[in-house]
């Protein structure tokens, strides 16, 4: 069976956040921030392990992070970790069946109860708090 016959969207399905509402956008952000944080952790382990090579190399590595580019990466990491943590708590609670509504006979027009206002507010709050955390970190790292 060739790819077209199979007709799976593949990774493109993860990359398009616009078709299915704010929940799919949150899914997309969760994926992006998850990958971003993984890359950061690998870089972080590499950076901190340089202490084994002596004080001079450790200081050189620290100097690398004390640049505008290094600060920008840290601002992004703070935003990503804030969103990932708060949205992650929402998803974990949802996985436990908490906050996803109560099953009942559906009435037309059908509005999925699992995507209720509590969930939507949590997503907006995660994005808002991530933005605030990034603004604060910009102030700390780039301010006077």
């Amino acid at each position: 069976m060739n790819k077209q016959h199979n007709n799976r969207i593949g990774i493109k399905a993860w990359l398009n956040p616009w078709r299915y509402g704010i929940e799919r956008f949150a899914y997309w952000l969760m994926r992006i921030t998850g990958v971003g944080l993984l890359v950061y952790f690998i870089m972080h382990i590499y950076e901190t392990s340089s202490i084994l090579d002596g004080k001079e190399i450790w200081n050189k590595m620290l100097d690398l992070t004390q640049t505008p580019e290094g600060h920008l990466i840290l601002v992004l990491v703070i935003g990503m970790s804030t969103f990932h943590t708060i949205n992650g708590i929402r998803i974990m609670l949802g996985h436990g069946g908490i906050g996803v509504g109560k099953a009942s006979r559906p009435d037309y027009p059908y509005a999925p109860k699992s995507q209720n206002m509590k969930n939507k507010l949590c997503i907006y709050a995660s994005i808002g708090l991530a933005a605030l955390a990034m603004l604060y970190s910009v102030e700390v790292m780039f301010g006077e």
Binding site: R8, I9, E23, R24, G97, P106, Y108, S114
Partner: protein, 262 residues
């Protein structure tokens, strides 16, 4: 529906068919044509369609099939969102053609493609074999040792109060149209994932207090391509035409495995 014109790829052989009703609106349908046994690539064929405000996408497709292009392959049956046959991508979103009115799309072009994440049989008809097999694997029936019919042919009823029915009736509305599987981002990459349709139906029976097969089903879904691959993107619930809300059912089902409920 009044008149339809077809433009083949190079605008040759333009046909026009007029009907009795005066045309009201005009719209362009871009429909995928693909025969996996013959073609190497999908192609879009354009059809100009004149429609009335009450027409559905299925009405337009059938008019095209009957009047212009009999080779167009699509599956349909009830025309009232009960059989789950006419699922397809309408303007990039999985929808039932019979349940989508053309004038509600708010677009001058209607792009029609076969449902994603399902193998294409031809044009807009897709293969449901995997979905039905997975559905079957999760034992979509009441499991218990006794039966409603005894050996002496006495029939007894497994009685149930209305509150118990409310716990699963929403999930029993599933018409197996496959739209949820088509919208699911995990189905897009994991060909072995059970999918929201089957997982929700597993919960439909687990939540039925006449059923005693909870542990059997939980064992089946607790595997690598099972329930753990659902990341609660919620797109399945967004596209469900019957209000089943698969995302809710799946999270409730998972809550048993995570120890949130007994």
């Amino acid at each position: 529906m009044a008149a339809i014109k077809i433009h083949e790829e190079n605008d040759q052989n333009v046909k026009s068919i007029a009907a009795d009703i005066k045309p009201k609106n005009k719209i362009l349908f871009k429909i995928t044509k693909f025969n996996p046994h013959v073609d190497t690539h999908m192609k879009y064929v354009d059809y100009d369609v004149e429609y009335e405000h009450w027409n559905t996408v299925l009405d337009a497709l059938l008019m095209i099939k009957h009047k212009v292009d009999p080779s167009l392959a699509l599956r349909y049956s009830c025309r009232q969102a009960s059989c789950g046959s006419c699922g397809m991508m309408i303007n990039d979103k999985p929808s039932l053609a019979c349940f989508t009115k053309i004038n509600e799309l708010g677009s001058d072009v209607v792009k029609i493609e076969p449902m994603s994440n399902f193998p294409i049989l031809r044009d807009l008809a897709v293969d449901f074999t995997q979905m039905f097999n997975t559905h079957k694997k999760l034992k979509p029936y009441i499991i218990r040792s006794d039966s409603e019919i005894s050996q002496s042919n006495e029939i007894k009823e497994f009685s149930q109060d209305p509150d118990s029915v409310e716990k699963y009736i929403q999930f029993a509305n599933c018409i197996k149209c496959g739209l949820c599987n088509s919208a699911c981002p995990t189905m897009a990459t994991d060909s072995s994932f059970m999918g929201p349709q089957a997982l929700t139906q597993a919960y439909r029976y687990v939540s039925d207090d006449r059923d005693k097969g909870k542990n059997t089903r939980l064992k089946i879904i607790d595997e690598r391509h099972g329930i753990w691959r659902c990341h609660f993107a919620g797109s399945c619930s967004k596209v469900c035409p019957k209000g089943v809300d698969p995302a809710m059912g799946i999270q409730f089902l998972r809550s048993y495995l995570l120890g949130f409920r007994d």
